[in-house]
């Protein structure tokens, strides 16, 4: 993040630099310990099986804790923050001093977070997301909870860039303004959300983690397995087939359990409110959070639902904000709201976007796209048919047939609804997604054609927002060009804030 030199004079001791709450030391202590364990756990696990390591382990642990404690204390002492009229200045760093100045109008979002230990001590952390080109995120680790809310109000409730109170004629909303509830997740709803997650993925992640931990503990496991009597191994040779269904059920159960636990930890007591100029989200179990998203900073709204979610009428919505240059691929500026029913989703859409109005054009891909999908998905058949065994041929053919069915269904559902100011993309079959974007917030427009598309007068179009692209492929060239021209007109003719 760049230093804002122009703000230097404005600060002029109007609010002297302040330290965080002393609990900030705990924050740094826990963070550095965690970073150390996460970085060196394979080495530590390797050392754990060495007897001589245990001889000196307590001294090593004491030395480590003292070192981390001293670094955490120094970090706390060198960290100050200063709130000016329109800039937040943070000074930090032990060996390398750093001064970060963040103009309020560059602040995308201010999160108030409360981990379990912060809840006990009555303090909270503030995380400030910006959209600067370096993509830095700053953090105030611990201030009193009440103060955290006041700071959030000061940092969030600023006029949007390029727009003042006089221009809009409206009162600037405050972060703590009461809002209209869109959704409040009760425990039964949370339970349903947990049940409709992707259990297979969660189970695989869990088993992957177990496998990763199992390798360093190989010695312990070998010792444990050596205690299993020989007749048990002998019996296992005959009954292992019977264990497959049990294992499958076990995997599903573990997946469901992990999904439920994950849903409760992430979304406990989640409340979404529509406030004057945006959305306010709060919730969380072990780590409580609260933040507000101004409407004009929302770049894209993405709804997604799996089969289980559609079965009970739920959809998960993701609100995408602008990503800075260095943040691509990260999900830091995206907020997910699960368990939304149709009317909740409509309310959310109504808060974040102007009414869609009449759909002027529906763009559908040319059937060439389907042909390409079918050909690509069938290519695996060639080597299998030439070199594969009979069983493999049958298995892969069935798999390819399923993939082709999915391709046909995906192709059927793919469409881009366009009007003069917005687009909505509908895609996916088993996992359905829809994305909504205002054309005026686009960053750039790209038209692509290759020799095959050129022959048939088709193009691909990519509408890039600051939160990622919306792509529509194999559409008629003149329609693609018209959409590009309309999108550019929207971007260039409107001056409302977009970030």
């Amino acid at each position: 993040m760049n230093e804002s030199e122009g703000h230097n004079e404005q600060l002029e001791e109007e609010a002297p630099p302040r330290r965080q709450h002393l609990a900030g030391v705990i924050h740094y202590f826990l963070r550095y310990t965690w970073v150390f364990l996460r970085s060196f756990w394979p080495a530590l696990a390797g050392l754990a099986v060495n007897d001589s390591f245990w001889k000196y382990s307590h001294w090593a642990a004491i030395g480590f804790l003292i070192l981390v404690g001293v670094v955490a204390l120094l970090q706390h002492l060198r960290f100050t923050f200063q709130v000016g009229e329109d800039v937040l200045v943070i000074r930090k760093g032990v060996l390398q001093r750093e001064r970060i100045a963040i103009a309020f109008d560059r602040i995308q979002m201010v999160h108030v977070e409360q981990a379990w230990w912060q809840q006990i001590l009555g303090v909270a952390g503030l995380r400030i997301d910006t959209a600067g080109s370096s993509g830095t995120e700053v953090e105030i680790a611990a201030v009193k909870l009440k103060e955290a809310h006041v700071l959030k109000g000061v940092l969030s409730a600023r006029p949007a860039s390029g727009r003042s109170e006089e221009d809009t004629g409206q009162e600037i909303p405050t972060a703590n303004a009461p809002g209209r509830a869109i959704i409040s997740l009760s425990l039964p709803r949370l339970f349903k959300i947990g049940l409709t997650q992707n259990h297979l993925r969660n189970a695989l992640i869990a088993f992957g983690s177990v496998a990763a931990f199992a390798e360093p503990l190989q010695g312990v496991l070998t010792q444990w397995f050596s205690g299993v009597p020989d007749y048990a191994w002998w019996a296992l040779k005959f009954v292992w087939v019977l264990l497959i269904p049990l294992l499958a059920i076990g995997v599903v159960m573990v997946g469901i359990l992990i999904s439920l636990i994950g849903a409760v930890i992430r979304y406990y007591n989640l409340e979404v409110q529509a406030v004057n100029e945006g959305l306010k989200l709060s919730g969380g179990l072990l780590k409580k959070f609260e933040f507000q998203v101004p409407i004009h900073k929302v770049q894209m709204l993405e709804g997604a639902s799996g089969v289980l979610q559609r079965f009970i009428g739920f959809e998960t919505y993701k609100i995408h904000q602008a990503r800075a240059q260095a943040e691509v691929g990260q999900s830091g500026m995206t907020m997910a709201i699960p368990g939304l029913e149709r009317d909740h989703a409509d309310q959310l859409n109504g808060v974040l976007f102007p009414p869609f109005g009449k759909v002027e054009t529906i763009l559908r891909p040319h059937k060439l796209m389907l042909v390409r999908m079918v050909v690509v998905r069938s290519l695996i058949l060639i080597p299998v048919m030439v070199w594969g065994t009979a069983l493999l041929k049958v298995g892969v053919t069935l798999w390819v047939a399923w993939r082709i069915l999915v391709a046909v269904k995906q192709f059927d559902r793919l469409r881009l609804e366009v009007n003069s100011t917005q687009v909505k993309l509908h895609q996916g079959w088993i996992r359905q997604r829809n994305m909504r974007v205002e054309l005026r917030k686009l960053q750039r427009v790209v038209l692509v054609e290759n020799w095959l598309l050129r022959k048939r007068s088709l193009v691909h179009i990519r509408l890039h927002t600051a939160a990622g692209p919306v792509m529509m492929r194999y559409i008629p060239k003149e329609r693609g060009q018209a959409l590009r021209d309309a999108a550019l007109y929207e971007v260039e003719s409107r001056s409302e804030p977009w970030m």
Partner: protein
Amino acid sequence: MPFTNSSVSIDSLPTLEAADFEGLPSRYRTYRWMVYGCVLLMAGVGLGALVWFELEAVSTLRWGVWFAIALVGVFEATWALEEWKGFPLRGVLVREHDLSYRSGFLRQEVITVPFNRIQHSEISQGPLARVFNICTLKLYTAGSSGANLRVSGMDVERAQRLRQRLDERVRRA
């Protein structure tokens, strides 16, 4: 200022005309063919060495070597076709409110960046490009990594003038 929302006819919207794109200097074409020639030379030397070692070892060329020769041949031919047919298509179109760059023959891309979305711009020039007096203009917008529009092979003076204009627009935005 009172809010207005008058209707706009789609036909009246300004369109990007393919004919309006300005080509890049012919020096850049020479530069690209030089790079192509160097790669062709290196590939030729590599293949020659492979053939020599193969003939030394087994006095014949096995299918793997023929495959490598064919692969390099197809790659070089495709590249040559792209350079030959693609260079005349490369071009820049600067309008009042946006900049477009068209490139490619086998896969043609037209990228348009509105001026009011440019975060910053950059001009870069490598040692070989300095010899040819050309440079690369890079434009950055929000929401992705690296430059979002790279116009390679621009005349340095034109690029600097254009960048100056862009910077003025960005400052005004």
